[in-house]
Symmetry: C2
Subunit: 703 residues, 2 copies
């Protein structure tokens, strides 16, 4: 599952994405770089020349704009597309899973059993889902740069830039009514303002059983051949009616053929392709190992919690699938960085660039950039572990704590002028933040307690039992007893209490006797100190240095380079194509018939157990229908659910994964073996009609 | 499962045992210390006074000797007892599991499906199992102490002591033909020579299905009430015939009743009850957190490997069960040390002792001991991580590497005189070592590769990619590629090759082109350097300091204190008694009927799925038969399989576990809630007859 793990963003900031390069053959990795279908291109700077030269394809402005407006961002972490004039949205099952899980109870486990609203009245409103559709992009680099006075200190520069960004966003929101986000591109060389139409009334229409959506489970995740129906449907509403769409994708009844040129329009979340070698080494030696420890620990914790009863497993499973997905993805990424071929290639590229920069007087400013980045990483290294524990919250793995922190900081920050606030509390973001804060999604005390107890124990071990803050946090209790008391005594599971505290502002927060609020208040000053150090001594110097390197690259290479992924809309392209592995040719597609064979191979046992409906439908299904296919486009976590379209702009598939060999794409692209994986549009229709008897839904596609 | 995790001994030296104190109530922990049935007593110094005073019981010398000679040590990590004159031995299923796993193949999975030899001809010889029966104990403290010259350096003292111990053992073996081990008691205050009769022809007689032996799996492990038939039977042979026993236990047909006094005769492996507070803090802050990381990582690795196919799971399952057992046990132990009530009690005791010592001129020598131990821990802290990686081998998690290291070191060490060798290569131990080294137990290349690749990757992350030894170990490959090559190219999976190398001595080793031998040779010098630092600057100073503390204790308290556990035979006692938990009274026993209820509660799903034979036998079984019971005796990992006997010396049960509240016993004993768990002798007979139709075996018990 190439999904974004949103919890991980909050949690560690590393695994912003969810995509292993276990068997990279050094000699094969880089053989095809020149011809590769590389790039996550900006919609306002598409790769026209390459498409023309390589494929003889010239997308019109209309073609691009239509695709842009039919593309959807799931703020919970993923992509999707409009596929009917009545606001019907398709995305992956694993992208919708968070919303589906929140709508499930012990007696209505839609995640496990699936869901289908036969009529619009049966569609269920999601608790806190927000969808965004990109309306426009504006280059505001000049305005952002002008706000930073030449010669200002890094601290002043950071604050000035943050201030102007928040002001631009607020002004834009006021003027247009659209969600407005300043996006930093090329690590700081360019700033673009992205405006989005926002949908917050989003209703669940259809989800298959998780057993078929994620057929093969963790075993087959990121592997190929695959047989997954990783889809779900939602519908956006406005004024309690299905929103009317003028831009939605036609549904292809003919799907794809080998060699077809296809496009992906979606929201890749994060890549580290521009990172210096020192930065990659930091990821390899510090960031990923720490993150893996945390993942292994949490995977075991959630597994043992889940094994106690089916209801425990239901409560834990969305967290658990996310963690397992991150584990497989990040192990692959670590394997990539531990492959000497990868890092030495990066080293050669960097040395070449540095030599060139040194020779060109026009690039003189970039000369010290690499050393400046290395220096910032030393500062980052000093605070890294503490930052993960306190500011990213690894020490307090609990939804209730997250809510407490948000309430505390929202009270503190909204008392300041917009331009001076922490980024996430800028005026233009408050509505989205409140939707999360006041979500009625269930909170399970038992799961909260074991997660919090486990993370407090880990915190005590990491920081030391004698650490002053550890002692204050534990308040004389053992980690388990402290967690149990905090979860038992807090009232934050009540949305009304959260609303009251939010409305009461800083005064209400400071007067609160809620122990979770008091804990968040206690942890806040040291956490903020770490954040300030990171912002001013790590991020700002890096932003400046990377901007200089990017400028030098522009000067040398023109604009033929695409920026690293930023969870904003990008266009990728590639061809439907198999690959060779262990001496065998892997065909580009699988069939529904292959699904039944794979289940039989594994005696129809988990995670290869077919849902009953599929077992019954076998005779009705056309077993030759293509099910999943692979292609060479450049994708990454966040692209999950992205539409795959053909030259004619018809949706021929939906991205849901990459293979093991694609996991290194976080750092470097190669399509020798690396592939994106999609569900074929024909399998979707065949399943809707023959397995789910959802003809109304199948009929609506593309209409 | 309170088993010893032998791999962990080799691996990390921490989890020498396998036994959480998740819900210790501070006020309840210590309420009963004075009256508690505490102690793992030496057979040559039994707690006669306490037994007389508290229970009016006076064991005769004959009673004690008979119990001693009927008790069996499983060198793979556990205890057992002789239960017939024909050499029949009973132990836990989880103690026998290692041997059973080695006898299993894809087509004969005895671990999963169980095994019963209806005739002696069908009994299968185990591959490398060694059983020991304690013959005699001799106090050799004076001779050991005399070997260390007063005023000698710690280095000289360590070597002199090691030399005299190896010499004593060699002389004793030569003289008596018995396995002879010097045992360090009270951390260095006393030295006893233990002589054992050794059995190496051990054959599998009976094992139930793992699903009933470990009913409830990881969920119910260390919990209570329980319903496990955790037993297996072996038979010792001499000269190809069943060994004739004059000492074996009578089998009780009446079992136990509430309030009965019972005894445990077994081999508790390791406790840390005499540890100073500084040593406990080291365990809490350094040792356990590092060990937990390793366990979480390996648990996820083995789980994902196992999920790929039933055969993968079969290959990994013995490792996996061991790891899961360690995880639950060690988390409980960590929870105990993170409970402020536990550590503060230890602190008060230590302060009291130190004050008393300071006041008594006769104890003056002990005054600096605590600071000396703290100083040794600082040295230990400096090398701790590297020691785990290199000397304990965490960086090379592979059976093939272990074999290579043993071959390399055996060649190096046996070239030296006996008295100068590393302890494990002393003459008196070589036969046991060779049995392990030349074991025909299967080695699975696929499992070896994933384990080695994972640990090499962890090593690279821990020591740094630029570390000189890391670079030499990886030899320019990625961790995965390097592991795959090592496993593919080594010939050490062939017993004949191992024998050839062992016979060829150092010359053959140095000339070997086997890449695993070369790797072991490369890693050996730095690993040995760490070992020397530990022996001379950590262990020897600790031995001296702890001996002084122990002497001071003797002087004050007499010999009323028992030594920490040393995987040697000990006598424990207690009564059959329930306890209160969460306001409910937990009865001391469960019944076979309760087993069926628990399975039904969980819809007969793993790990609560009853084997078919049990489902079919329900009507034949007396459902009121007691199945498991709890009692207050002081046990720990290594006691698994120990006989529970009544005043008459009859076997009434077999120890297989402790409850969650007993996990803190590693550091401190309390029987407020902590309990040992046993299988009732009546359930064993009932199951043998009614479920397994093993009447011949049932008839043999106690005859």
């Amino acid at each position: 599952m190439i999904r974004i793990d949103m919890q991980c963003i909050w949690f560690s900031g590393l695994a912003r994405i969810v995509i292993t390069a276990s068997a990279l053959l050094a000699s094969e990795v880089f053989a095809d770089r020149v011809l590769a279908d590389e790039g996550m291109w900006l919609f306002n700077d598409p790769p026209r020349k390459t498409l023309e030269a390589k494929y003889g394809f010239n997308p019109t402005d209309q073609w691009l704009e239509h695709l842009q407006r039919a593309s959807v961002r799931f703020n919970s972490g993923g992509s999707g597309s409009f596929v009917s004039s009545d606001g019907l949205v398709i995305t992956n099952h694993h992208v919708g899973a968070d919303a589906i899980h929140k709508l499930s109870t012990k007696d209505t486990d839609y995640l496990k059993n699936g869901f289908y609203a036969k009529t619009r009245a049966e569609e269920i409103r999601c608790m806190d889902l927000e969808l965004n559709v990109l309306d426009s992009i504006e280059d505001i680099t000049a305005r952002v740069s002008a706000a930073v006075k030449p010669g200002s200190s890094v601290s002043d520069a950071f604050r000035a830039r943050r201030a102007v960004m928040s002001t631009i966003e607020k002004d834009s929101l006021k003027k247009t009514g659209l969600r407005s986000d300043v996006v930093t591109l090329y690590q700081g060389a360019l700033y673009h303002l992205y405006r989005y139409k926002k949908y917050t009334d989003v209703r669940l229409v259809f989800a298959p059983e998780q057993a078929i959506a994620f057929f093969g489970g963790d075993v087959d995740n990121f592997e190929y051949p695959r047989y997954d129906l990783d889809i779900s449907f939602f519908r956006v509403y406005e004024n309690d009616r299905p929103a009317k769409m003028s831009n939605y994708l036609k549904w292809s009844s003919s799907g794809v053929s080998e060699g077809d040129l296809v496009f992906v329009s979606g929201h890749p979340a994060h890549t580290d392709r521009m990172d210096t070698v020192a930065a990659l080494e930091f990821i390899r030696d510090r960031a990923l190992p720490l993150r893996m420890r945390d993942i292994f620990r949490r995977e075991v914790l959630l597994t043992t919690f889940g094994q106690r009863s089916p209801e425990n497993m239901r409560r834990a499973q969305d967290d658990l699938f996310g963690i397992q997905n991150s584990r497989k993805a990040l192990l692959g990424r670590l394997a990539g960085l531990q492959d000497p071929a990868v890092i030495s290639r990066k080293r050669v590229e960097e040395e070449n660039l540095r030599r060139t920069v040194a020779r060109r007087p026009a690039s003189a400013k970039a000369t010290p950039a690499w050393d400046q980045i290395a220096a910032s990483l030393r500062v980052w290294g000093e605070i890294y572990d503490d930052y993960q524990l306190l500011e990213r919250g690894a020490a307090f793995n609990s939804r209730l704590f997250q809510l407490a922190r948000t309430l505390v900081r929202m009270a503190e920050e909204t008392a300041k002028p917009n331009a001076k606030r922490l980024r996430e509390f800028r005026d233009s973001n408050l509505e989205s933040l409140r939707q999360q804060l006041f979500s009625k999604a269930p909170i399970y005390d038992d799961l909260e307690t074991v997660k919090l107890a486990d993370s407090l124990s880990m915190y005590e071990a990491a920081a030391g039992a004698e650490n002053e803050l550890v002692r204050r946090v534990l308040a004389g209790d053992s980690p388990h007893a402290r967690a149990a008391r905090l979860v038992r005594e807090t009232k934050l599971d009540d949305v009304a209490v959260r609303k009251q505290l939010a409305e009461g502002g800083l005064k209400a927060i400071l007067a609160s006797t809620d122990p979770m609020i008091q804990l968040a208040l206690m942890v806040d000053p040291p956490a903020r100190r770490l954040r300030t150090i990171r912002e001013e001594r790590v991020l700002e110097p890096q932003r400046r240095a990377y901007a200089k390197i990017a400028d030098a690259r522009f000067a040398m290479l023109g604009t033929s380079a695409y920026p690293d992924a930023t969870f904003t809309l990008r266009l990728a392209f590639g061809v439907v194509e198999g690959y060779r592995e262990h001496g065998r040719q892997i065909p580009p597609w699988t069939t529904i018939g292959g699904l039944y064979e794979r289940a039989a191979e594994h005696h129809n046992k988990k995670p290869f157990q077919l849902p009953h409906g599929w077992a019954r439908a076998k005779d009705r299904l056309d077993l030759n229908t293509p099910m999943n296919f692979v292609f060479t486009a450049d994708i990454i976590g966040g692209n999950s659910g992205s539409p795959v379209v053909n030259r004619g702009g018809e949706q021929v598939g939906i991205v849901f994964d990459g293979n093991l060999q694609s996991l290194v794409w976080n750092f470097i692209f190669t399509s020798k073996q690396g592939r994106a994986t999609a569900v074929d549009s024909r399998a979707i229709v065949e399943a809707l009609r023959q397995v789910y008897h959802a003809d109304a839904l199948a009929d609506e596609l593309g209409r």
